[in-house]
């Protein structure tokens, strides 16, 4: 299934990636070839095979409901570009 240039732009936007105009044809080609592989896989008859959610044949271990973390705000915020009053500051997002 070949992708269009528009599809690639949309995917890039969803992933918040800035693509240079001249790189788009290459991404169209490469992503399309990945989708071709998937298409090939989809031709395999999987009737009666339960969908796999994880490659490991194991299941989730549970953690007891207990508070084990302490406040490390100062440490975490030491790598943040901008903080104030305990908050991380980011460029304004308006609903």
């Amino acid at each position: 299934m070949p992708l269009s240039g528009k599809d690639v732009e949309n995917i890039a936007h969803l992933a918040r990636l800035a693509l240079a105009e001249e790189d788009i044809p290459r991404y169209v080609r490469e992503l399309s070839s990945i989708l071709n592989l998937v298409e090939q896989l989809q031709r395999v008859d999987t009737e009666g095979v339960p969908p796999m959610a994880h490659p490991l044949d194991a299941h989730q271990r549970l953690r007891p409901d207990a508070v084990t973390e302490t406040d490390q705000r100062e440490l975490f915020q030491s790598t943040a570009p901008l903080t104030e009053a305990g908050l991380y500051l980011v460029p304004r997002v308006i609903e």
Partner: protein, 479 residues
């Protein structure tokens, strides 16, 4: 045209765990910003989520309570979108295989009939952080304390047909999660919030109309008003030849209207896929059985028991079992009173609820506890005071003047049951009202009430009403 309203609700109930769904950070409300956001919650490189057993237990408890199927195997998925209060760039949720599927909840309609509302599914997911848009020099402040708090998203079938029904369903669910002790139900703190999917269609049409989703309704009143507004908006639009857009809208409580939300992400393209950091959640039969054993008596069962065992009307039983706290209060009062379930019901629903409303208090914060109220009812039952005087005693108890016994003694409210004393009062009143005595004896039976009132007045309300009636009739009888 005659339009039919179709509503489905998605309710997010914050689960009452101590720690977060995938980390050991605290979920306590009201902490200093970002002091309860650990490396996992912040999505720092190299961290892995580990699922909280308490959250799973609560989800299963809910599933069992609504007669749903508890999935023996469910899967966590990533819901991808970018927003600053979502540090990982995705929310861990459940998509194709939720932990709870297919249940129902019965609601009571205004005409007294019962309606069964389908519950499509309930899945576990993590909450996002909070964005504060005001006052940071044009920047947005992010508090990630809430990030990773466990939520149970409960999705109803589009079975609701009016704003009232939607509110009735939401209230029922609210009571249920509190009965189950899986959510504190605090709507102001956002522990229980609702998105409503609303559409209209010509009555009789079997396909659904295009729906709008109204986000983040955090009070019962807003839910009703927002849906009402939205229904009217859609009908007006359709009747004038327009079409409804499928979109997300926000309710503005100040203006009482809904308006479209600017799109966060083009066409909700969340690109769900199974989260490779989490293995499938497999529940053993024994685990589910263990949770089943912890189920409390549910609201409907408790209501039925109240009507059956206490002889209460369905209405009274409904009011008293509306919340677990109220039902517990009633039953403790009844135990302390040692009987008379109807009188106890009247007091809890009357004087007590009135005083609570006046003071905007929850029943758990009542200054008069069930033991104290039961003690008062005991004094009525044993004839120490009349029901009327009891109201005065209750007020004094509410004001913190002590228990019923102490107040009755201190204020000298003990009922007068000494026949001689009541007779003296009757004689006194008769002597002061010769005309009424003559009138009564001439056949004006209704004047009996006048005499009862007068004697009560001079006795300070303390004369035993039964004895008084008997003495009055005897003394007033024509001779």
């Amino acid at each position: 045209m005659d339009w039919e309203t179709v509503i489905g609700l998605e309710i997010h109930a914050q689960l009452a765990t101590r720690s977060k769904i995938f980390s050991g950070a605290s979920t306590a409300f009201g902490a200093e910003p970002n002091t309860q956001a650990c490396a996992v919650d912040l999505g720092l490189p190299g961290v892995l989520p580990v699922l909280n057993e308490g959250a799973v237990r609560m989800a299963v408890k809910f599933g069992l309570a609504v007669g749903a199927e508890v999935a023996r195997r469910s899967v966590f998925a990533r819901k991808n979108y970018f927003y600053p209060d979502l540090p990982k760039g995705y929310q861990i949720s459940q998509y194709e295989l939720p932990v709870v599927a297919g249940g129902h909840l019965d609601i009571e309609l205004e005409d007294g009939s019962t309606k069964r509302v389908g519950i499509t599914r309930a899945h576990l997911e993590e909450d996002a952080g909070k964005s504060l848009h005001e006052d940071f020099h044009g920047l947005t402040g992010i508090d990630l304390n809430r990030a990773g708090t466990p939520l149970l998203e409960i999705v109803s079938e589009p079975d609701l047909r009016s704003p009232r029904e939607a509110v009735a369903y939401m209230k029922r669910l609210h009571a249920l999660v509190r009965y189950l002790e899986i959510c504190d139900g605090n709507m102001q703190e956002g522990s229980f919030r609702c998105d409503a999917n609303v559409s209209v269609r010509p009555r009789g049409q079997s396909t659904y109309g295009t729906r709008a989703e109204i986000k983040n309704l955090n009070s019962f009143r807003f839910v009703e008003r927002a849906i009402q507004y939205e229904v009217e908006r859609q009908i007006t639009l359709l009747e004038s030849g327009g079409t409804v857009q499928q979109e997300t809208r926000l309710y503005d409580p100040d203006r009482g209207e809904t308006r479209p939300m600017r799109s966060k992400e083009e066409a909700n393209d969340y690109r769900y896929f199974p989260d490779p950091d989490l293995l499938p959640l497999v529940l053993e039969e024994s685990f589910v059985e263990e949770v089943k054993a912890t189920l409390p008596e549910l609201p409907d069962a408790r209501k039925a028991r109240f009507t059956r065992d206490y002889g209460l009307s369905p209405y009274d039983a409904g009011v008293l079992t509306a919340t677990r706290e109220m039902a517990d209060f009633y039953e403790s009062t009844l135990r302390a009173a040692g009987g008379e379930p109807k009188i106890a019901a009247n007091w809890v629903m009357g004087e007590l609820s009135g005083a609570l409303n006046k003071g905007s208090l929850e029943v758990t914060a009542s200054p008069v506890g069930p033991e104290a109220l039961g003690g008062l009812l005991r004094r009525i039952a044993d004839g120490t005071i009349s029901g009327k005087i009891a109201k005065e005693v209750f007020e004094a108890m509410w004001a913190g003047e002590g228990d019923a016994e102490a107040i009755i003694e201190r204020r000298g409210l003990r009922q007068v049951t000494d026949t001689g004393a009541i007779e003296r009062l009757v004689d006194q009143v008769m002597a002061a009202n010769p005309e009424q005595v003559a009138g009564y004896r001439a056949g004006k039976d209704k004047l009996l009430g006048f005499f009862v009132g007068q004697v009560m007045k001079v006795s300070g309300g303390k004369a035993n009403p039964g004895q008084l009636n008997e003495i009055l009739k005897r003394k007033l009888a024509p001779r």
